[in-house]
């Protein structure tokens, strides 16, 4: 399990990182926590000539908790997110989901930016960010732009991010909805979801997203609209109509749909209870 050789870079700011990406084009890749990328490199599923380590870039760190929005630097680790009490009080859904990702060792190094930029349908943060209506800030050679999480995912491992862009920050509006839940079914600790659901509900509003049940996360506007009116059956029907799981080692399609419905109903019930 030895990856192919590469040149290593550790730039100190975003500008230098981008110029390395520009110089080497397709052959260069950024590395954050490395806990999705290194396993892929060990399997020789990606070919990388130049690895650009983001660890020394201070601009990518830090969490700001405001009254109306929170901003997470891309290099915020899952453990830092979990340990931030102000953040946990403002958006408890984030913490509840992060605690269900991988295991302690992975959460110490795995970053929020890497989790959302990766494009793996198994990652938990993309669906979560769609549920929360987060916005990603991308910086590239042509400047800075914002892309909604709901518009970011195109297919498995294909996102709206250009090869020479770095995801720098994630901005999340503090949800008006008081009820929240992140429910996940996995085979064992440290496994990706067989199915997971993020639900926000309260004050006549709702938002529903699902993970690892299609080649992108699924945020269903219709499911949210139904739940906002208190129509649980309509919400479940809409979400179940929007997913498209495929068969893999986590089970056949019928099983995944079954698990998805169980998980979604649990998340809805928990979120509704908390909204009271």
């Amino acid at each position: 399990m030895i990856p192919a050789g590469f040149e290593y870079h550790r730039p100190a700011d975003i500008r230098s990182a981008i110029s390395i990406l520009q110089e080497h084009g397709d052959a260069a890749r950024v590395i954050a926590g490395g806990h999705s990328l290194i396993p892929m490199m060990k399997l020789r599923m990606t070919d990388i000539g130049h690895l650009v380590d983001l660890q020394a870039i201070g601009e990518l760190k830090g969490v700001e908790v405001g009254a109306e929005k929170v901003t997470l630097g891309a290099m915020t680790t899952q453990a830092e997110l979990i340990g931030n009490a102000a953040l946990g009080a403002k958006i408890p859904l984030l913490r509840e989901a992060a605690l269900q990702i991988a295991d302690p060792q992975v959460r110490y190094v795995g970053t929020v930016g890497g989790n959302v930029a990766n494009g793996d349908p198994g990652n938990d943060m993309p669906g979560l960010m769609q549920c929360l209506d987060a916005t990603y800030t991308l910086v590239g050679p042509d400047g800075t732009r914002d892309v909604a999480a709901r518009d970011f995912y195109e297919a498995a491992y294909f996102t709206a991010r250009g090869d020479e862009e770095i995801l720098t920050r994630i901005t999340i509006p503090v949800p008006a909805m008081k009820g929240y839940a992140y429910e996940k079914q996995k085979r064992k600790i440290g496994d990706y979801a067989t199915a997971a659901a993020a639900v926000l509900v309260g004050g006549g509003k709702a938002s529903v997203a699902m993970t690892n049940l299609s080649d992108t996360p699924i945020w269903s506007e219709a499911a949210g609209a139904a739940l906002a009116k208190g129509d649980v059956e309509g919400c479940v029907a809409a979400a179940m109509g929007a997913i498209a799981p495929s068969e893999d080692m986590r089970g056949p399609i019928a099983f995944k749909k079954h698990v998805a419905e169980v998980i979604l109903r649990r998340a809805i019930a928990k979120a509704q209870e908390r909204a009271k």
């Binding site: 050789g5 490395g34 490199m41 690895l51 302690p104």
Partner: protein
């Protein structure tokens, strides 16, 4: 690929070496430095046998390039002994409570337990199980590992109080 010069602190000592950037930290520790406490188990970031402490975090050293660890402060199970070379508290409690059988997972378990108790000196049994979830053991059924860690917590607290 050319080798790079790496410099890190391992168990309190400055060490240096030449290595290809793709060298995994576990291989650098075991093969270049001959620090063979951390074990290679699954090699796929799951089992935790290779766990070391890096800059105050428990990490799976099979999933860290030595290039990323350049400049870091690393502690392995070898670094957790007492100053006189005798077993440290957690090591001693694993022995006393039979927290191991074949011993393969033990260095990772102890190194992880060390960080867990630094962060949470009085964990509940549930917190120990949650905090140790990244380390697999195929012998003990975990019961005695959990006991050993809870016993370590009590001892370490006692030591701290006595020192104050």
């Amino acid at each position: 690929m050319s080798k790079m010069h790496v410099k890190l602190k391992v168990n309190g000592q400055e060490v240096e070496g030449l290595a290809e950037p793709r060298t995994l930290l576990i291989h650098f520790l075991r093969e270049n430095l001959r620090i063979t406490g951390p074990h290679i188990g699954c090699e796929t970031s799951h089992c935790g046998a290779c766990t070391v402490d890096m800059n105050g975090k428990s990490v799976k050293s099979c999933t860290v390039f030595v290039a990323q660890a350049n400049g870091a402060d690393v502690t392995t199970v070898e670094g957790l002994v007492n100053a006189d070379g005798s077993l440290g508290v957690i090591q001693e409690m694993f022995r006393e409570h039979h927290g191991l059988q074949c011993g393969f997972c033990t260095p990772g378990m102890i190194t992880r337990a060390h960080r867990l108790l630094q962060e949470n000196p009085s964990p509940t049994e549930e917190e120990v199980r949650f905090g140790m979830a990244g380390n697999l053991c195929r012998c003990t059924g975990y019961q005695n590992i959990v006991k050993a860690i809870l016993a370590s917590a009590d001892l370490l607290k006692g030591q701290k109080e006595a020192a104050e």
